[in-house]
């Protein structure tokens, strides 16, 4: 029997952490999908870039630190992580503000990334 074709999946994060459950649910979906041996990429843009900030301390609002969970991506061998440069710039954020290793990509690369996928899952 032929091995089923590997699909290209992009997980798109466009919302800030904590204000809604989207960030956490998206991360759960990425970790779950990583078990199925597909070609996964993760892209943070618009308010999603706020998930990447250093110094998050959500103890007093009784949430789990998003950065601790995002750091687990490398353990799950999820290497294709991207963040939109324009979204960072629009918010006055610099690459030194980002807590994890990630590829900072410009608008045209973002468009390319979106157009290469079999499926886009948006959170």
């Amino acid at each position: 029997m032929n091995k089923p074709k590997t699909k290209k999946l992009l997980f798109l994060f466009r919302h800030a952490p904590y204000g809604s459950a989207l960030a956490k649910e998206g991360i759960d979906a990425v970790l779950a999908a990583s078990a199925y041996d597909q070609d996964l990429s993760v892209l943070f843009m618009d308010d999603g870039v706020f998930q990447l900030l250093k110094h998050q301390k959500p103890d007093d609002i009784e949430e789990k630190n998003i950065i601790n969970i995002l750091s687990a991506f490398t353990l799950y061998d999820i290497q294709s992580l991207f963040v939109c440069q324009e979204s960072l710039a629009e918010r006055g954020l610099r690459n030194t503000d980002i807590a994890i290793g990630i590829n900072i990509v410009a608008h045209n690369t973002v468009s390319q990334l979106l157009s290469q996928q079999d499926h886009i899952l948006s959170f």
Binding site: R14, H15, A16, P17, Y18, G19, S20, D46, D47, F50, L53, K54, H55, Q56, K57, P58, D59, D60, I61, E63, E90, R91, G92, L93, A99
Partner: protein, 100 residues
């Protein structure tokens, strides 16, 4: 004269509530940023110039710290407060208007 405490709990980048609020506040009113609304406290956000320093601006400290926004990144005229102070502010104003 009545004075209003306006609360904004949505990110100004994805939602118009901050703009709508700032367009309608009057002298004596105050603005409280909470939840994702605290991203409006960033000095780098494009609507900062609309936040006229003649009003009082507050943000919930726990929400600011949760999101990793250091004090060096915040507008200088924002006062960080806790939920007890939020209650006090509510009693000091004649009404509370939530923009969400």
């Amino acid at each position: 004269m009545s004075n209003i405490l306006h609360t904004v709990n949505k990110s100004p980048f994805l939602n118009q509530t901050l703009k709508h609020c700032l367009g309608r506040i009057q002298s004596g009113d105050s603005v409280l940023l909470l939840e994702d609304g605290v991203y409006a406290a960033l000095s780098s956000q494009p609507w900062a110039m609309l936040m006229n320093p003649s009003h009082q601006y507050y943000a919930i400290k726990a929400d600011v710290e949760a999101r990793g926004l250091g004090e060096d990144k915040l507008l200088s005229h924002i006062t960080l407060i806790d939920y007890e102070q939020f209650v006090e502010l509510s009693t000091e104003h004649s009404t509370v208007q939530s923009w969400y």
